[in-house]
Symmetry: C2
Subunit: 570 residues, 2 copies
Amino acid sequence: MNCIIRVNMLTQKITEEPVPEAYRLLGARGLNARILLDEVDADCEPLGSRNKLIISPGLMAGTSASSSSRLSYGGKSPLTGTIKEANAGGNNAAYLARLGIKSVIIEDIPNTKDLFILYLGANRKELILANELKGKRVYETGEILKQRFENVGIACIGPAGEQLMATAGIANTNSEDEPERFAARGGLGAVMGSKGLKAIVIEKTKDKVRIQDEKAFMEGRKKYTNGLLKNETTGQGLPQWSTLVLVDPINAAGDMTVKNMSQGEWDECDHVNAQTMVDLINERGSGKMGHPCQRGCIIRCSNKYPGKNGENVCKIDYETVALLGPNLLINNLDAIAEINRKCNDVGVDTMEIAGALGVAMEAGVLNWGDSDRVLEIIDEIATGTVLGKLIGAGALSTGRVLGIKRIPVVKGQTWGGYDPRASKGQGVTYVTTPQGADHNAGYVVSAEVLKLGLDLDPLTTDGKVDVSLAYQNYAGTFDCLGICVMATYATFPDPSCLEGVVKMVNAVYGSDFTAETIFQLGDNMIASEREFNRRAGIVINRPPEFIVNEPLPPHNVVWDVPFKDLDRIV
Amino acid sequence: MNCIIRVNMLTQKITEEPVPEAYRLLGARGLNARILLDEVDADCEPLGSRNKLIISPGLMAGTSASSSSRLSYGGKSPLTGTIKEANAGGNNAAYLARLGIKSVIIEDIPNTKDLFILYLGANRKELILANELKGKRVYETGEILKQRFENVGIACIGPAGEQLMATAGIANTNSEDEPERFAARGGLGAVMGSKGLKAIVIEKTKDKVRIQDEKAFMEGRKKYTNGLLKNETTGQGLPQWSTLVLVDPINAAGDMTVKNMSQGEWDECDHVNAQTMVDLINERGSGKMGHPCQRGCIIRCSNKYPGKNGENVCKIDYETVALLGPNLLINNLDAIAEINRKCNDVGVDTMEIAGALGVAMEAGVLNWGDSDRVLEIIDEIATGTVLGKLIGAGALSTGRVLGIKRIPVVKGQTWGGYDPRASKGQGVTYVTTPQGADHNAGYVVSAEVLKLGLDLDPLTTDGKVDVSLAYQNYAGTFDCLGICVMATYATFPDPSCLEGVVKMVNAVYGSDFTAETIFQLGDNMIASEREFNRRAGIVINRPPEFIVNEPLPPHNVVWDVPFKDLDRIV
């Protein structure tokens, strides 16, 4: 990866720049943070000309290492006002890496209302006028672009991104060229929309990324692969059951997100758990679990949810199921999958939309569990009614407008499918990550509820700030590498698996990381992110007051981490 | 004023406390700021149990000094997230002062959905269950309470405050016992609503406030009164023409707020200027200008706008006319007055609603100039439709939800009827006051456009930060005294008039302020406000980007005060 592509949407100029030495050992979220800090005024308006959309593969992108090609999008978030990173699976990161592209920097905004496609190929890089795609939904956009450009990966936005909605994500094609791997969080689809960019089309080349020491790489890869395969979670739980494997244990722990965060368990979770999906997949025909979102992924936590006639609806995952299911009292996996597909199609983050809908149900705008009305409202996001735009603005805006005080957000972003009161260390991650509430930023649930690698009491606060910070650092490091956080289930408890990762990195870059020093990547990245936030005026870490005041059944616990312990993390 | 009344809405307990010595020479906005800093966690949620609503008369309240009984409401704002002060005319401050009440502190929130009246009398202070007032509009609430309690001043909220809308204000009875003097700005009506308080009823007593040196007071008062009478603005312009006297010069200066801030002048302003109103008042019967909002006010800048049959509609003032008129392209004073009355009735800030409507018109939600639809939407605020709630959330929320980038706010609050690009020092006030955009916080327009007391070029930036800070300090000092900022038109250019004020203050309190040291009141107050904001995490002063990027016709100027000059004010 030897060049940075800079695209100015005002002048329509595309330039190719060498990679500064200081960026060489940065990748994905880590590189995005550094470029944002170096180039973007943190006080800018997220949808204005001064913000930039940065798109970077990770350090390991394009190699044959499993799960190593997450694609990272970065910018200042219209949802949170903080620095923002959202990463997606699929193969786009690998394609960019094979083109030698370390990062794509989209800057400024056009002075017309035209829409563009950015084509990135080995021999040409160009902006193509594409007003015919205006208002097109994501799946149709994907179809049109696949027809028009052969042998490409696609990233695109839907009507939500074009309308600058703070819940808009960026769809990326998966291993089967379906545009449903979302860089969903924080409204970066709106940033892309603000720049008049409907899609990015990336040529698949046969080029390989350069590896300095192939032999060492293969040795590292073997250790890493073995670790993934023998780990119970990455080798069995996820490929066999998908992330829906979480539904039962999280509900059993009283940590589920139920009825807009008013309960921690729900007696109808067995309608939306992994067993239900596996049964349906068996009944309806495909019979196959364990889909990889990107080529060569061993973990294969994805799936293809089958419709009533066996047709592929879309992949569904735990966070979406928890927040659209128990959180909205929708006890029907078919309905959830259909809502998920429609969210994909209009181009929005399922989690943020679910957060907004939970708040809207609490306000009486629609009834609990009314999945038909939910589907109508998601269509209204595309058509842009006032209600559609309100839900499309996310949970915090929805709650403030509707006068609701129980809004499950930190720094404006809806949290994941784990109530912070019943997994208090996970709550520290929500409250303190520079990203706004983000379950993946430091997944302490794995220790507090799942007991993977570490066994912590979920209901105590002692030491949880330090645990969360360590997990944030660990996950952040993998975000820099572009390796899926799912792999950390295996590396965390298994020194040999982690050694494999370090060895691969050193083999590619000729670097001399150790299993200790590699975590400087996460450390430095998070420091950059916090510095960006400081400059943006985001200087306080606080939970929403309802989790401090309202005990969560069945444990009847509040989130009681002392605020003073949060104040040292700014 | 020898006691502080503390009302806990959870325990329903009312206590009477002596005034701490440190608070003795603080009043109104200054006392509110100090109490908020002393008692309220700045990181609290504005509508949660930790916020407080503080209600304080100024230092001169209840005396016979003209224009000296503004009543100041304070709290953390649900609109801006900053400290907030909103003050209102009428006699309520005088009534509180005569009861000896230096401040009323409303704290905590009830654990029921009951609504209450707080009755404050000489012999009893009590909370009265008042669920029969639920959903009642402001004018009807005023009528009911006047019938039920005789000889009282009333402060109340409308349906907007009950629904916790960020545009909700607090209505106060005027000199004719009509509840239409609003502490409008920043959503303090929602804070009152969050505490389950529908109204405050204040007994009118015959008691006088204590004055330590009556003779000196009368001497000071004479100087002050003479100054007000002989000043062109306070002695003639305002009583004869009301604040609508501003329409023509502001428009002529290209500083008007037109079509959601896309132009600085409008060729239909002659339909909404002072002459138009004066003609209507003459034609339709009353023939009288120069209404005082509170007893004994010499300036009498208020008015009674006459309906088609000569009936009193409500008072209208410049900011409301500028923002509902030119800003929405409504060229009809009857329509503006009717909208103003309906805003009063549902209990919202006309300025913030106008800001939200301008943004909604730009988004195509309703047509420019469609005053009938505006009236319907304001009814929807009361009934709580999604659109009503959206507009009721203010301009920033409305703009964000609707995907509009030209939103005329700073720190979430809509600015006044002067475009900052054509009065750049006024823009500094909008951007840097701790209150969020607030024209009265430092009215540099008086020098830049009106040339009163000082003649500054409105289109230059040199020295404007210092000018604005000086004006903020000056206005802030009068806010502490509880003297209407209109009086500063007279005191600013006339040392004798200011001397009169200082002499009155010293006569009441036995203090030894001079014409220099009295401004420490404003200085200390603003320092407290900034400190509160810092603790709340509000640490950046920035204009919305559109005023930096979009030249404003006819001068085709942008707001180009360097950001680094703003950074020293935090």
